[in-house]
Amino acid sequence: MAEEQDLENVRRVLGGDLAAFEDIVRRWQGPLINLAFRFCRDRPRAEEMAQDAFVQIYRNLEKFRADSAFSTWIFAVSLNLYRSVMRRKPPPAESIDCVAELPGGQMPHLQLEQNERDEMVRRSVASLPARYRDVVIVFYFREKDLRETAAILGLSEGTAKARLHRGRELLKRKMDAGSSGVAAVREVYL
């Protein structure tokens, strides 16, 4: 039903009805901003990236062939844009220093609560090598739908699966290294 509405909106936009594009923006602004946020971890920047993505979608709308879902297509267009934006200006690299510089200037083991640890994991994903970062972000963003992840990224399911596995391994290693770093910091403080 929603997919049909999207297709109808696309037809109307291509027929010159710009109000239909506003419907598309309202429907997809949340997902596109959230996807951008997972790359840059910065809200104002995520909105800018999503705005650029919508302009890109508008420019390329006539290239949309209904052989894939509209959602898959707009995520693919947005993802291409987000990748190139992140190449030009990557997010700051995550390191154990970030843990030591938690707000309040208190000892890390007192401050390192669940939310902060989670945020560090997410920032670590954003700083993975691009080929693993993209697949990990899209896979969890699309609630573990490997088939759609592969379609959005233009990969085969096998390749997407392999990169996902490798990306998770890298992430786990990074987090384990971070934990041992925290332990080392604790020992210094205690």
Binding site: G30, N34, K172
Partner: protein, 116 residues
Amino acid sequence: MNSDDLEQTLLSEKQIEASSTFTRNVMLRVRDESPYPRAIPFPWIPFAATALILMLVTVLHFPAASYAGAMNAAACAIGQWIVAHSAIGPGNALLSGLAALLGTLFLVKVSISVSG
């Protein structure tokens, strides 16, 4: 950190909302890009206001219009009476048609004289 924790963390990302000006900003940029001229909407509000004013002016300044309406109703009633009391036949049908035509011409003349 085990794999389950990692999965849970990656799945439970908090959703952020678009700012209130987001849609407007996107549409401003898209309109700049649009190859189509912006459609001019029909001015329904001025149209409705003008029609209302015209109706009020007609009713207030030309009461004869309502007189013409009453004349019309009376002519209809007379026509119905004639039809009800006429016998069916080709001669009568021709006569009725002629009477209707004359009646219509009479009403048109009355309407023209009333409205000036």
